[in-house]
Amino acid sequence: MVDVAKLKEIARETVSRDDVKYLIGWRQGTFGFRAAPHFVNKPEDVDQLIFSPLCSHNLATYLTGVEKLPVPRGQEADSRKVALMVKGCDSRAVVLQLVEQGYGRDSVVVIGCPCQGVVDQKKVEAKYPDMGENITAEWGEKTIIFNLPSGKTEVPREEVLAGKCLTCRYPNPLLADAGAWEEVAVWGSDDYADVQDLEAGNPQERRAFWEDKFASCIRCYACRNVCPMCYCEDCILDRLNPQWITRAVNPTENTAFHLSRAFHLAGRCIECGECERVCPVDIPLMKLNRKLTKEVRENYDYEPGLDPEAKPLQASYRPNDKEDFIL
């Protein structure tokens, strides 16, 4: 459970530090059941910070998104830290970014926020359509409480939680420099039922399923841009030479794009569900990512973002790795 007042206190202390550039957290959005990322540059901006079931954004993606401008001669590079509020899943992204040396441990201050699950916009919007004004929400005992215009409404959390939260096994931050919290009890377990459903079918069924989904992709790359683990400076999707995937939006290139994206996240996807959340055409990207997560967990006994000492999956091997598929 997070004590938001105490969290704000910690945030205030953190932004006041000389060696901290700014803090990234969440604030209430402007309409519907929305929260928004909040960049706290001054201690007085802390008041707008929230931590509620609406805080779906994985803010870790901002840590790698900062443009590194060349430093003018005679000036020193800004070496101040960035402070970041993380939920359980977000903290795995930070751990993995550190493992991959995306940035140094001394350039970030992590503020842990144990999480009781965030809402899925699509589920709440289906439940309460056409909500013009902004709604706040809070956690209850196994419920989510919405402060609707008609009054407080308590909903069992199974009805509105995002899919990733229903199966969440790491709601408590795995890495934190500070935090105002007691650990929450883990409620989820994961049997990869969604992946198994599809695996049970024959190749034709799977092909038909994915052809249909991939055909609707508009290649906006929102899924890549939001992903905390997609931070290559030179992404193959932007490259012209070699041009792995042409820019045509058609089933061929879309399939190649989806295979590339999923594969580049093999052993790296920390299941924050952001890609699926931002997809404008509702492609079930988690169903694709989780296939690889499942393989990685079953065959290589590896879960990304748990252990700051573990080597990345594809940069390591075991002599007895699975090889039953090799002729």
Binding site: E199, E253, F263, Q314, D321, E323, L327
Partner: protein
Amino acid sequence: MSAEYQPNIVAFLCNWCSYAGADLAGTSRTNYPSNLNVIRVMCSGRVNPLFVVNALQQGADGVLVSGCHPGDCHYMEGNFYARRRFGMMKELLEYVGVEPGRFNMSWVSASEGAKWKDVVGEVVDKAKEAGPFKQFRRDKINW
């Protein structure tokens, strides 16, 4: 023109073992199917998994990646990395509906000319069974 369908298979062979093994099969005058288009690479660990996707896009009906047996890699550990990558790539391809026979990986050492023949036979048979690949082939190559 034979009526039987002949699959087009792209094979990435590592310079030190599989390529030499295929060479041995050739110099020993072994008879084996000629459906393979061989691309020599320095190590199976050099094969980017996207090569497989790209080959399928550009006209391959099947792909084979072949390297040294574990422990025999000229670069000590290249094939260990390849094994992880392609184990996952194979699962991913099958998950989106690519027939299991289209992507294969094998270990063939420089002295295994006979094994090379068997591997090629198996790979070609599997590709024949799967039929022409249409799922995500490009209509226009190099448009």
